[in-house]
Amino acid sequence: MPSATTSPSALRPILKVLVANRGEIAVRVVRACHELGIPTVAVYSEADRAALHVRNAGEAVCIGPAPSSESYLRGERIIEAALRTGANAIHPGYGFLSENAAFARMVVEAGLVWVGPPASAIEAMGSKTRARQHMVAAGVPVVPGTTHAIETEAEALIIAREIGFPVMLKAAGGGGGKGIRKVEHEDEFSSAWRSTKSEASRSFKDDAVYLEKFVSNPKHIEIQVLADQHGTCVHLFERDCSVQRRNQKVVEETPCAVLPDATRLAMAKVAVQAAAAVGYVGAGTIEFLFSQASGEFYFLEMNTRLQVEHPVTEMVTGIDLVRAQLRIAAGEPLWFSQDDLRQTGHAIEVRIYAEDPANNFAPAPGRISGLREPGGPWVRVDSGVYAGYEVPIHYDPMVAKLICWGSTREEATTRLIRALREYRVRGIHTSIPFLAAILRDPEFQAGNYSTGFLTPERLHRLTQAGENPRIATIAAAIARFEADTRPARASTTASSSSAWKLAARPGGAR
């Protein structure tokens, strides 16, 4: 079996990159390639002809119908498209096939460069139980619990009693916040066991379940690493991703406001150890739970790909992670050392979703009738949409990410609030007001929030904020009135009220 790094010492120039993804991350990768002077090929489903990544890439190939299972998850079609267009490398982005070891292997076997870690590293970290075994062997602290899947409910209950309730039941093949269940008391155990098993079987086609101690009110802290094909691995410090809803990250920032320097260093050291233990290459992330109460941290899992929240690390370190992925995949040794890396200032990212926070976060696909993205200093928009774009029903509802940098955490926060105030996504509901409310929350501003930050009460409060019925009434009244009294016409220029008035008079149009 050929390894993903067949000839680690030889440079292998990347001539053209096929981006096996869609949305903002495909746009992000296309941008990095163009900055390196590398031509790009987009792939798209039949529902995505109008997607931004197709507009931005140099070439585009349709790979199948709308459902991901018939397009973005079809590895063989993607490889065929690369071979046909002369692309000699594939960047998988995140999600879809990015953590699929079989696909990584197919890419390499087709003679293409895989912009990602070796298939063996993906496999080592792909199963949560196997990852725990690797980490224990490498001396990395893991949450107390089992390192193997548990066979029977009875056995599981015995272990749960030993560890002590509450415990977490987790699907070994899970990820993305799915296949996880907290069990508070022994009398809930039986039903939780069965539903976790069945969800694991349904979602991951693998009903293996293991057990961990529940760490109360932890922070979710993760360490970004970069490893080249020549055995050098560095870390790029931490990200605090503790603002979560349904185990999905909502706001990410770096540095963590309350992490002691010694813990940061210890965590980073362990992360580099963990990556080395599986022969990691490229950009990866080691996730930890950090208990503010005890000061201890535990390995949670490793994401063997680029993360959604990679921009905040870029903003404080000055390292372009996608450019780094491409250079590493081409065989270049890392061009900086650990000592060259610094955290400068503070960066925060928010994820903008097409969803209605005031209506229990119901998905809100539809046509974006108008769009104005914020600009100015230290405001970064990684967007996958544009004015006139119809957000499709088939895929993840994230439409864009907004990232702000500031010389201090307070500066980054106030800048992000300003940028959200400028951001106009019209015609659909978005999470923008919810995100602005989080940033204004005193407990968020204090920085010591845990993954329990979004309690039902706070969620309710933060999703109901910010309406301005008075202005909405005036705008709707004018819109209706103009539609009822004016002949329909396309706007040809920014029309001021005086132009309106002239137009209303006979022969008065200029």
Binding site: G366, S369, G370, R480, S497
Partner: protein, 179 residues
């Protein structure tokens, strides 16, 4: 013109006129709030309107600069999806004359419609089947999330407008429960 405008639980009776003359003011808007407690104080605003694009309403309201986006609601009710400083609200706009007209011909049954475009995953009932209020009837999926729609009343399934696997637009009728 007069409109009844509803934002959340606030309903206002609004009078709007185009402002005559050559000054910057384009519209004069006044309203009273109506509630179960009766009618509130009247307030009036003078607006200098600019439409930078068809959906964008930039308004200098008594000297303050405000901007709102107004996209017609897909249910054809005459209302708008209005966004102000990032917050998007469904705003009901009713012409009182038309409202009187509509009430006369309104259907009394329990219509079930979808608030979002998506794909019908499962229809769990058949025409003629008796259902209870709150009973799940149909599942619509959008953006990898399944949404279960429940019966608004006790009754019998009168008609089903969609089939499993079909896609539906926002506001589409899915089925009707007769009391």
């Amino acid at each position: 013109m007069k409109y009844e405008i509803t934002v959340g639980d606030i309903t206002r009776l609004v009078t709007i006129e185009r402002e005559p003359g050559n000054g910057p003011i384009s519209h004069r808007i006044s309203w009273v709030e109506v509630s179960d407690d009766g009618v509130g104080e009247e307030e009036t605003h003078l607006v200098d309107l600019l439409r930078p694009s068809p959906e964008a309403f930039n308004m200098l309201i008594d000297g303050e600069s405000w901007e709102a986006g107004c996209t017609p609601l897909s249910d054809g009710s005459g209302g708008y999806l209005v966004d102000v400083v990032g917050v998007t609200m469904a705003v009901g706009v009713v012409d009182p004359r038309r409202k009187a007209l509509r009430l006369g011909s309104a259907h009394a049954g329990g219509l079930v419609a979808t608030q979002m475009p998506g794909r019908v995953v499962r229809v769990m009932v058949a025409v003629g089947e008796a259902v209870k209020k709150g009973q799940p009837l149909i599942v619509v999926e959008a953006m990898k999330m399944e949404n279960e729609l429940k019966s608004p009343i006790d009754g019998t399934i009168g008609e089903i407008y969609v089939a499993s696997g079909g896609t539906v637009e926002s506001g589409a009728k899915l089925l009707r429960v007769d009391a």
